[in-house]
Chain length 346, copies 2
């Protein structure tokens, strides 16, 4: 082999706070219900089934690459897929979300959460290899849910607005909570590791609902388990992105859990987020998805405002401040990609 080593992709360069050729952009949930081609391939196939079919898990992440020319693909999965793979009895109900047959609320329930072994997810390895081969120089971002958010589904038994049972368990029985989160950290870590070993060039750990906690509760009860996912992945040499919604108070602590890149929602400007996170981190974000529903001129102003707020951030990956809404117009997202590529000053 006499191939020269390829330059790392822009997303990886930005994540490492090195100079990319242009500001990289991708969207959380870019592969999903907002795309007609996604709805077509998913027709008649249940969510959980779709996440286990190598053909779909390969096809779906490629759809937004073809349509938008975004700078990264994101692995197609649901946050509860590794739980199901480990053996938890659950389903994803349309219009509801993940529903767990028997919630985990006592020590006696813990046995229903066995460890995840890599050979329980052969379709992940297979799909990642294929996606990476098809993507060429575009990186694939591996995907997993963080222990707190996974715990919230297991304890509540399904989606919950307020997470009262989860937080009550966390506050009321810290040893059980720690054991539960340790098990979940093993599962998240293994799921990401499988993806990286098959070729993912970065990972994103989603702690979707952790914004329901105060900083003190986060640091005491959650950060160690997120660190138990992220820190061992350092050895694999890929950038680690960490994101949750409504986490303005938690950003610095989430970075310190072991991420190179902190994802920021739309409530805080990237300039303010950079001050809060402190030096040593790249930022990802943070266009308010609501701007996708505004007239194009307003959308343009908002994209440029995000780029302006990121001007002094050393390492910026453009994204939304939340996932792509299912009813978003793909034309608006295409417009965002073009604007970022034209106006982003890396």
């Amino acid at each position: 082999m006499t191939d020269r080593p390829q330059a790392p992709p822009d997303l990886v360069l930005a994540a490492r706070r090195q100079r990319p050729s242009r500001t990289p952009v991708w969207f959380m949930r870019q592969a999903g219900r907002s795309l007609p081609e996604y709805r077509r391939v998913r027709e008649g196939i249940a969510m959980l089934d779709s996440c286990r079919r190598p053909d779909l898990v390969t096809e779906i992440p490629l759809q937004p690459i073809r349509r938008y020319g975004v700078d990264a693909a994101i692995f197609y999965s649901d946050i509860v897929v590794p739980l199901a793979a480990a053996g938890v009895d659950l389903d994803i109900k349309p219009g509801v979300g993940p529903v767990v047959a028997e919630p985990i609320r006592t020590r006696a329930d813990l046995h229903r959460l066995p460890p995840l072994t890599p050979d329980a997810v052969p379709y992940v390895t297979q799909a990642v290899r294929q996606i990476v081969a098809e993507l060429g120089s575009t990186p694939l971002i591996g995907f997993a849910g963080a222990p707190f958010t996974l715990a919230s589904y297991l304890v509540e038994g399904g989606p919950s607005r307020d997470l009262h049972r989860t937080k009550a368990l966390m506050l009321g029985d810290p040893p059980l909570w720690r054991d539960l989160l340790d098990r979940l950290a093993q599962i998240s870590r293994t799921f990401l590791q499988v993806q990286v070993e098959a070729g993912a060039a970065a990972v994103q750990l989603f702690d979707s609902w952790v914004g329901a906690l105060s900083l003190a509760d986060y640091v005491d009860h959650v950060q160690p388990s997120s660190a138990a996912v992220l820190e061992p992945l350092a050895a694999l040499g890929v950038p680690r992105i960490h994101f949750g919604v409504g986490t303005g108070e938690l950003l610095a602590a989430m970075g310190r859990a072991g991420a190179e890149v902190v994802g920021v929602d739309f409530r805080l400007s990237l300039a303010d987020a950079a001050r809060r996170v402190g030096p040593g981190y790249a930022l990802q974000g943070n266009l308010d998805p609501a701007a996708l529903f505004a007239p194009r001129a307003v959308l343009r102003d908002r994209v440029l405002a995000v780029l302006a707020a990121a001007r002094d951030v050393p390492g910026h990956i453009f994204n939304l401040g939340h996932g792509v809404p299912p009813d978003a117009d793909p034309g608006a997202l295409a417009h965002v990609v073009d604007l970022v590529h034209e106006h982003g000053v890396p």
Copy 2:
């Protein structure tokens, strides 16, 4: 008459940052589904109907006073009651929330939102007078929703997690948005004014969903309309409390909209909130309602921690950081009241 003037109630003293006899405590949604006596009187009566029946509107706010000995009653209403009174065609569907028959999304829709006249809510005046007479020295807090949150129901047509249409209208058509919020400010203001003129000793303006905005959007598009509710009420001489969920970034701006008391949710300690709000404001909050579901010893620690965080706050009204959950144990709330009264250091 030779009666000496009565001392203001503790809640009013704390709101004015004067020394109360003890730390006052009440709970958002203290009069509601968590109480068996509430469920009993509401049986078979639709939510909206219950808010228009002087007998129920009088009885329901008194229930938590009798049960808990809290330091204030809160007027019983729903955030959309004044909209319905003004003439908007809407209903409150059980398990869903407010549903608006024809959403307001264009200038041509604005006529469906006429002004509220005090004589459209005779049951409010009647009920407030009766409640105040029954309460004796305990103050009644008047209640209304703020223009942004009201707008969100009108624009979305019902409850929404992300408020995309609302925010898109706000960003995409600022003149229409301003006109919509002006009308809503008139309605909120009138609804509060009626309550104060009938005897309410304080008011709370709920901007429940305003935490969905960045500070810049709040200041540009929402704060003026909240000020248009709160500032004219200054002439009535009652303290004004202003609260929204997830408003860590907005607290100072919400105070400057014209409140003596800023309500704080559970994501931020009261000490941090005081620093963020700056001098000149009292604070209300902020026990995480999840603590109500934890063992009593943990609940106790949490209540004491809130009191400790408020030690240097000049003016503290104890409350939850969110409304009482419908499935909360009234015994836990009674315990909180006792702890605050025993350990609160005014």
